[in-house]
């Protein structure tokens, strides 16, 4: 279960990105909204929603919205989620947001993230405004009836509380490392 509820402050982090740079949440304190999205390479739910997240970043970038994608999966059991595979996927799919590696899984645990994808949307004051799934239809983008993530972004940009602040994340479980 997420460790944050609407209104809670974002948990800081500093993680390596697939481009070799390090990205800190604090670097985006000037943004109108920041979406921390736990995702990964291999999960079909993450893959199904990936294009929509890329489109959202493209559509909202000039409005001061920033997506930060984080992969925390254990690459030992899921080699398709290795850092090298992340680099490849980000390039192949044209990720227009940082794709960060939470190798220790510390950030995913701090946020209480459980699924991929799982969105934590924060306003310009760093307060959580939306947590959950991107929308209500992982299979068909043309059949979406509730675009929860986009609707939440619109509300946050308007200085309002989203009509829907929490939905159940739908996706694969985060692949946790097993104790030695």
């Amino acid at each position: 279960m997420a460790n944050l509820k609407p209104g809670d402050q974002a948990i800081p982090f500093s993680l390596p990105g697939v481009d070799g740079k390090t990205y800190a949440l604090a670097d985006y304190s000037d943004k109108n909204a920041v979406a921390v999205i736990f995702t990964c390479n291999h999960c079909p739910y993450a893959q199904a929603w990936e294009g929509r997240l890329i489109q959202a970043q493209a559509d909202y970038a000039d409005k001061g919205v920033q997506i930060l994608a984080i992969n925390a999966n254990d690459a030992t059991t899921h080699p398709g989620d290795s850092f090298e595979a992340m680099q490849q996927r980000a390039q192949e799919k044209g990720f227009n947001f940082p794709y960060l590696h939470d190798e220790s899984q510390e950030i995913a645990r701090a946020y209480g993230a459980e699924r991929t994808p799982e969105i934590f949307l924060f306003d310009k004051n760093g307060k959580l405004q939306y947590h959950g799934a991107p929308d209500d239809n992982y299979e068909d983008p043309n059949a979406v009836q509730h675009a929860w993530f986009r609707d939440a972004i619109d509300a946050v940009l308007a200085g309002q509380t989203p009509a829907v602040t929490t939905t159940e994340p739908k996706g694969c479980t985060i692949k946790w490392k097993q104790p030695a």
Partner: protein
């Protein structure tokens, strides 16, 4: 007709996939029991050659060909739909085609 439905509990929507299989079978007039197998351990995934949840096999054959070097594990499965999109579930058309092809082959 031997029909197997293999799934992993942590991967959501397996219930939707099973319901989809049952619906398509009914539409095609196929009356057969579905052997529903819950895959719970990595050892079981290896033994069952489980490439991910959900997996549907008809007459012992996966409805989507599995590469020889496939990785077996407790994971969700990505299906490439006819229009190229990725989905966690096989489409109704994929299931229907596999059922019809099996019937035609026996």
């Amino acid at each position: 007709m031997a029909i197997e439905f293999l799934y992993y509990e942590d991967c959501p929507s397996h219930d939707v996939a099973l319901e989809r299989l049952q619906t398509i079978m009914a539409e095609e007039g196929i009356h057969a029991d579905i052997n529903i197998i819950k895959v719970e351990t990595e050892d079981q995934a290896q033994r069952l050659k489980f490439v991910g949840s959900p997996t549907i096999r008809i007459g012992g054959q996966d409805i989507v060909p599995v590469p020889a070097n496939a990785h077996y594990s407790l994971t969700c499965r990505a299906y490439r739909l006819d229009d190229g999109r990725i989905s966690p579930l096989p489409s109704p058309d994929m299931i229907r085609r596999a059922l019809r092809e099996h019937i035609a082959s026996v």
